[in-house]
């Protein structure tokens, strides 16, 4: 596998962002805001952190990734296509009739998608199950899981949080895309989550809080988490919803709607400038 430098990963993340804008605009719907906030993590995972083989998606020693916040499927699909799981030209079929790229990820439909998600609050449990299977089978693979911050309002996550500690799932590393916005606005006004770090510490996890747009932070935190000999790890990433497109940043309105034509032109221009 090609070795990517942090600068190259950052560039990949911006390429994924560009795909996200193109895909969701072509679809006329989708969830660009959270896709943009998690692009740096997704690029870091697929182009540096994870051991995986796009030519052999079922390779049994691969690292696994569960996208608990399934609505940011566009950024996952973009990373899978850029990795070589399927042609990049398929990306614009997102959300269209007959496409494998359903509005939310479906296991068995898209090479590289491990679990069906989209109903929030379930992915961490699934990731725990995969990590437990690896532990039972004495495998070395890691299971990564991306959680939205809003979905942590759902109780099932905390059932899974207890489970991961009880079963000492050292090879489970979760991430929270802490962009502080959900559909109804500020997470702290809708149903407060602070402090996620203290909550997970209280549950017994190894917790790291980082800048989720800093590739060095992401790679460094994963490295430290992998060195842990006890317990699961979670990396709380402080992020900006809509990151990379000025008028989408910190704008809850782009949680679940695509760009209009004029917005699209502006967004593409900004992202292409970033890629210059």
């Amino acid at each position: 596998m090609k070795e990517y430098t942090p600068e190259q990963i950052k560039r990949k993340a911006d390429e994924l962002r560009l795909h996200v804008i193109e895909m969701t605009t072509a679809a006329g719907s989708g969830h660009p805001g959270g896709s943009l906030s998690s692009a740096d993590l997704i690029a870091s995972l697929y182009f540096s952190v994870m051991k995986h083989d796009p030519k052999n998606p079922q390779w049994e020693d691969r690292d696994r990734f569960v996208l608990s916040k399934g609505h940011v499927a566009p950024v996952l699909y973009a990373a899978l296509a850029e990795s070589g799981y399927f042609p990049v030209k398929d990306l614009v079929t997102l959300r269209k009739m007959g496409s494998k790229l359903q509005g939310h990820p479906v296991r068995g439909k898209v090479p590289g998608v491990e679990m069906s998600t989209g109903s929030l609050g379930q992915g961490l449990s699934m990731a725990c199950g995969i990590a437990l299977a690896g532990k039972m089978d004495k495998k070395d693979y890691y299971t990564y899981c991306l959680l939205g911050d809003g979905e942590l309002q759902s109780g099932q996550n905390w059932e899974a949080a207890m489970f991961a500690v009880q079963y000492d799932l050292t090879h489970l590393i979760a991430f929270v895309d802490r962009n502080r916005l959900q559909i109804e606005g500020d997470t702290e006004k809708v149903m407060g989550l602070d402090s996620l770090t203290e909550k997970f510490l209280a549950f017994g996890w190894n917790v790291y809080e980082i800048d989720g747009h800093n590739i060095d932070h992401i790679l460094g935190a994963v490295k430290v988490a992998k060195a842990n000999k006890e317990g699961p790890s979670i990396i709380v990433m402080n992020t900006v919803k809509g990151k990379g497109v000025s008028f989408m940043e910190n704008n809850a309105g782009f949680h679940g709607r695509a760009c209009k034509p004029d917005e699209y032109e502006k967004a593409v221009k900004e992202l292409k400038e970033a890629l210059q």
């Binding site: 379930q122 992915g123 449990s125 699934m126 725990c128 299977a133 489970f163």
Partner: protein
């Protein structure tokens, strides 16, 4: 005196056998292993037993992750919780991706008795049957429950199986076979088809005895798979008898009675009378008294048979 055995005990025995014979099988529970009898698996293969605590939604998510990693998973708790608390988890995590998890519930129906309505699942077959890709099984006795447990372990896909708590009459020999989607004809007659599931099959047999004394003969079918429904068995019998009665320890809404009625009304309309609870919750009480109050006795099935026969043209 008819021999009586509890289905859950034979589920436990079958799990213990699977623990010995199939290293790929995992059993899971949500703090009820001693009651559901997954404890029998734990005795043999503690390293492949997964306790999740009182957390049914997590139970299903963990099961999905294990199944996605190639395991055959049996996840158990009481029927109310197994079907209701985590229905949407079962929908997304198991049924949609067709993962190899068997949700096996115990303590179904009002025969749970004293615990009352909170613990008496009368809707589970309805909500499980509505899920695409889901197989729904309800064995008639303990030996059929044993055979069904081994059979579903061989099937690659999601299954919901409901079992009772109490001892129920033995209908089959110990080595009875079970095939998913295949009904069993236990008795033949010409006037009415009695289709039962779960412990109601034994009551259908009793009702058939009573009817015979009145000169009425009945086919009795053990519909141990609710989905996929053995429509061939229904056609064969009803084309002869011209009417049917369904009997289940479950609401008449959405379960066996609905499945049979839906099939017959679309394909060969004929009188059908459904025995089951009629859009009501149960309550605490002695199971026999509850069966009387909620219209689930052999006498109720007998009267239903006469009603169906009376409605024939």
């Amino acid at each position: 005196m008819t021999q009586k055995l509890a289905q859950r005990n034979y589920y436990g025995k079958a799990l213990a056998k699977l623990a010995e014979t199939n290293p790929n099988v995992i059993a899971m529970d949500a703090d009820l292993a001693g009651s559901t009898k997954t404890s029998e698996f734990r005795k043999v293969a503690p390293e492949r037993f997964v306790e999740v605590g009182i957390a049914e939604q997590n139970l299903i998510g963990i099961a999905a992750g294990l199944a996605a990693s190639g395991k055959t998973v049996f996840a158990s708790t009481f029927a109310v919780f197994a079907s209701g608390r985590c229905w949407e988890q079962i929908r997304l995590a198991l049924a949609y991706p067709k993962l190899n998890v068997k949700v096996v519930s115990t303590h179904c129906g009002i025969s749970v008795g004293a615990d009352g309505a909170s613990h008496q699942a009368l809707e589970d077959m309805a909500i499980m049957r509505a899920l695409p890709n889901m197989v729904v099984i309800s064995p008639a006795d303990a030996y059929e429950a044993y055979a069904a447990t081994l059979a579903i372990a061989e099937y690659d896909g999601p299954v919901y199986m409901r079992l009772g708590r109490a001892d129920v009459p033995v209908l089959f020999p110990e080595d009875v076979k079970f095939e998913i989607g295949k009904a069993k004809v236990l008795r033949t007659g010409t006037d009415v088809t009695l289709i039962g599931t779960g412990q109601m099959v034994a009551l259908c047999m009793e009702a058939a005895d009573m009817l015979e004394k009145e000169g009425i003969t009945a086919d009795v079918i053990d519909m141990s798979t609710i989905k996929p429904l053995d429509t061939q068995a229904i056609v064969t019998s009803v084309s002869k008898t011209g009417c049917a009665v369904t009997a289940e320890e479950h609401s008449v809404i959405g379960g066996l009675g609905s499945a049979v009625s839906e099939f017959l009304s679309e394909n060969m309309p004929c009188p059908v009378t459904r025995i089951g609870t009629r859009d009501t919750f149960g309550e605490s009480g002695d199971p026999d008294e509850l069966f009387k109050k909620y219209g689930l006795t052999a006498e109720d099935i007998r009267e239903a048979a006469k009603r169906s026969i009376g409605m024939k043209e």
